[in-house]
């Protein structure tokens, strides 16, 4: 007997599927059209949301100021009713969280603490708004631009293409890598005598002496203070593969040893990164692990701060932005912030440091009122009183008038090292292009493999990274030079 047909006919099935697909597509199209925030009525309050870094004091200080000070100022001076919300992203997702939100054309975050390194990927698809006309039409911002501590600020924090006149953000905070050292140990006469006897030169005790210190002498100092039996070590630095943690410190040392990461103008990596100088720099950086606590080969910012403020290390190679966390009440009078050591190559003293900090980037998918409020926020941020208040709460201003203010310098003891480094000709900022995140991930993978002992050769780490990065740049059309065929045999 023929089985009775109980299910729906093919026609019904097809029609149902077609209807379902139509509903789905209609919903999708409707969704695409409503991605921007609708323009609120003029009387309704505007909420602007800041996206900052979780656990990062400068973001938290600025957010608190924004929430408590800005609404009253905006109401009084511009007659707008604004509320400020604060969202955060963990360090591991610092780039991917705003990027994935903006890729969906979301207006969820009004102002993003962005990085100059991200501009290649944020400006191509027009995710963030240009600030050229905002600056041109704002006397406060024009004054601020002229008052930056260094021309490097505009290049690094604002421009894309790098160094051009196309501006996409305005610094929220300046930052660079410096060294925090234990002043009390350096000033100890017994330590001074013992060190002089052992190494034949005096312990550097002043800022000026640290300005010209070499990596080799710094290593002697670390060796002197390193005492694992007592649970005390020489240094805490970053070797984690999260975000750009290992990259900045290691890159600094690669540059100090005469190496380069890539050729910025030709976007050539292979043959540049895999060089004897870059290998020597990487080897020297990983060699510093000998004077660091167990497990330091995977450490990031918070570990360093804990180790230093917990009294486990003599020095911490960290950002000037973490100054407020390093000069704790318990460490009062015991800490000194100094420039990074350097290295003499071909008669030239190379003293590189990496630039940090963030810029305010305005989400380009905001409605007109929200965008106007976000721009007003930036103007408020650059009021002299706001900048002064930020500095007095521990933030790093980029304005000469604030940085050179004796009251601020006395209040923020890391400012001298911060200013010195920010105005140093060897301050660098890398990877301003659309492939930034991939390049960063690839080099950190190779370098952390070397730092953790997965591979034993700095040369292999650099060659692997050079091959991968060259392939990335070639595949995305940012260079016409493909990696050599020998790269097929290069593995971690």
């Amino acid at each position: 007997m023929k089985e009775m047909k109980t299910g729906p006919s093919r026609t019904v099935r097809n029609r149902t599927l077609a209807a379902g697909l139509t509903i789905a597509m209609t919903a999708g199209i409707a969704g695409c059209g409503t991605s921007s925030t609708p323009v609120a009525s003029s009387s309704s309050p505007i909420t602007i949301t800041l996206l900052g870094f979780a656990g990062w004091a400068p973001s938290a200080i600025a957010a608190k100021m924004a929430q408590t000070e800005f609404p009253a100022y905006a109401k009084k001076h511009w007659g707008i009713n604004v509320k400020v919300a604060y969202a955060t992203s963990p360090f591991a997702d610092l780039y991917s969280k705003p990027a994935s939100s903006l890729a969906a054309h979301s207006s969820e975050y009004s102002l993003i603490w962005g990085k100059g390194m991200w501009y290649g990927s944020f400006t191509g698809p027009k995710w963030i708004a240009s600030v050229n006309s905002l600056i041109a039409n704002s006397p406060e911002l024009k004054t601020a631009q002229a008052n930056f501590i260094s021309p490097f600020i505009q290049k690094s924090y604002e421009s894309y293409p790098y160094g051009s006149n196309h501006l996409w953000g305005i610094p929220s905070e300046g930052d660079a890598l410096i060294m925090y050292v234990r002043k009390d140990l350096l000033d100890n006469p017994a330590n001074q005598a013992a060190f002089q006897k052992a190494y034949g030169f005096p312990l550097p005790t002043t800022f000026t002496q640290w300005q010209t210190l070499s990596w080799s002498k710094f290593t002697d100092i670390l060796k002197f203070f390193n005492d694992p039996a007592k649970g005390f070590y020489g240094l805490a630095s970053e070797y984690s593969d999260s975000y750009d943690f290992m990259f900045n410190q290691a890159m600094t040392m690669v540059r100090d040893y005469g190496g380069h990461i890539w050729d910025r103008s030709t976007r050539q990596v292979y043959g540049v990164l895999n060089s004897p100088q870059a290998d020597a720099g990487l080897k020297a950086y990983v060699g510093l692990l000998k004077y660091q606590p167990p497990g330091a080969d995977t450490w990031g910012i918070s570990h360093d701060i804990q180790a230093f403020t917990g009294g486990h290390v003599f020095a911490a190679w960290q950002w000037s932005a973490v100054g407020p966390a390093m000069f704790t009440p318990a460490m009062q009078g015991k800490v000194m912030a100094v420039p990074l050591p350097g290295n003499t190559v071909n008669g030239q003293f190379l003293q590189y440091s990496a630039v940090g900090g963030q810029a305010w980037n305005v989400n380009n998918f905001l409605g007109p009122r929200h965008k106007a409020a976000a721009f007003d926020f930036i103007k408020w941020w650059y009021l002299p009183s706001t900048q002064m208040q930020y500095a007095m709460q521990g933030g790093n201003s980029v304005l000469k008038s604030v940085v050179d203010n004796p009251t601020v310098q006395a209040h923020d003891p890391w400012y001298r090292a911060y200013r010195y480094t920010m105005t140093n000709k060897h301050l660098v900022d890398e990877y301003h292009n659309a492939d930034y995140a991939t390049l960063m991930s690839e080099i950190q993978k190779a370098w952390t493999a070397y730092a953790t002992g997965e591979i034993n050769s700095a040369s292999l780490a650099n060659t692997y990274a050079a091959c991968r990065q060259q392939a990335t740049l070639f595949n995305t059309g940012l260079t016409n030079t493909a990696p050599p065929t020998s790269c097929a045999n290069v593995h971690l």
Binding site: M25, A92, F122, P294, T298, E454, L492
Partner: protein, 309 residues
């Protein structure tokens, strides 16, 4: 008049056929499934044939099978598959073994003092978010402040090991955390499987004085195998796509030591924003997951056929 006939009459009286009523019930689910499953899947499939980086601000470019060919020729992808299989097989194997033992213990000792509390405590890791568990264990394994390195140092007199920072121990440390988290699930499945065996059959086996292994093989296994193998299938699929735990503990490092497919997939999609290659890799991962699930199902059905014949 039977019940079906009664229902049919009621619908017809309301001017609605049974078939139409069935469609009314099924359409919301079908629409939901279409919107949230079929459309994204087709979108993903379509994207996998394009080169598309949202970060470049350029329109997608058709590549045909280019992304798939690139994946097949990429030795790193094969390495990641290898790492994923090592993680998956080890995790599911250990969890199943331990789950069986614990399941038997809790099932056979119903009058055990504190059984309920022990079961509650045992199941608690399973309800934690993997990212929270990963963060928790990252601190436990921390060589400076962590409990595990402290006791290894105290008991064995060796320097405090950096378990997550060493490429030889990182995978073991991550595996141990996964086992801690998911063995309770296999324990639960074992208890459920044993609960499916009719009491009368067990009593008959007892009267017949079957040995323990005979009871397991001929009494418990035929009744409990479906539930147990379902547990193994679910755990296998879950272990294959583990992301949160590893992302929080090592993010795939050090180097490539714990870099499983899901971490690579996240990196392609949300770090590099290579949507084409990321989509191709997602489909490739889906294909592998479906393939080994099919093997399990085949095995299950085959045994069933053998039993009938």
């Amino acid at each position: 008049m039977n019940n079906d006939g009664g229902q049919r009459l009621r619908f017809m009286r309301q001017g609605l056929s049974l078939k139409a009523f069935a469609w009314i019930l099924i359409i919301p689910v079908l629409a939901f499934f279409t919107i949230w499953n079929v459309v994204p899947f087709l979108w993903l499939l379509g994207l996998s044939f394009y080169r598309y980086y949202p970060t470049f601000g350029q329109p997608p470019k058709f590549l045909g099978l280019g992304n798939y060919i690139s994946l097949m020729n990429d030795p790193n992808v094969w390495e990641r598959i290898g790492t994923t299989f090592i993680f998956m097989v080890s995790a599911v194997g250990i969890e199943t073994g331990l789950g069986l033992v614990l399941g038997f213990v809790f099932w056979s000792r119903r009058a055990l003092w504190g059984r309920r509390l022990a079961l509650t405590l045992l199941f608690s890791p399973m309800v934690l978010a993997p990212v929270a568990a990963g963060t928790f264990f990252r601190l436990i394994y921390d060589p400076l402040y962590g409990v595990v390195p402290y006791y290894i140092h105290a008991f064995f007199g060796v320097p405090k090991p950096n378990l997550l920072g060493n490429s030889h121990t990182a995978m073991l440390a991550v595996l141990a955390t996964d086992v801690w988290m998911w063995t309770p699930f296999m324990t639960m499945m074992t208890i459920a499987a044993l609960g499916a065996v009719p009491k009368a059959v067990l009593e008959a086996a007892s009267v017949d004085r079957l040995k323990f292994w005979q009871r397991v093989r001929y009494v418990m296994w035929p009744y409990g195998k479906f539930i147990l193998l379902l547990g193994v299938i679910l755990r296998t699929i879950d272990a294959f796509k583990t992301y949160g735990l590893i992302a929080a503990m090592t993010a795939g490092g050090p180097g490539n030591a714990t870099d499983v497919l899901s971490i690579t997939l996240y990196r392609e999609g949300f770090v590099s924003f290579d949507m084409g290659k990321g989509s191709a890799l997602a489909l490739f991962t889906l294909f592998i997951a479906v393939a080994f699930t099919s093997v399990y199902l085949y095995f299950l059905k085959n045994r069933e056929r053998e039993a009938i014949s």
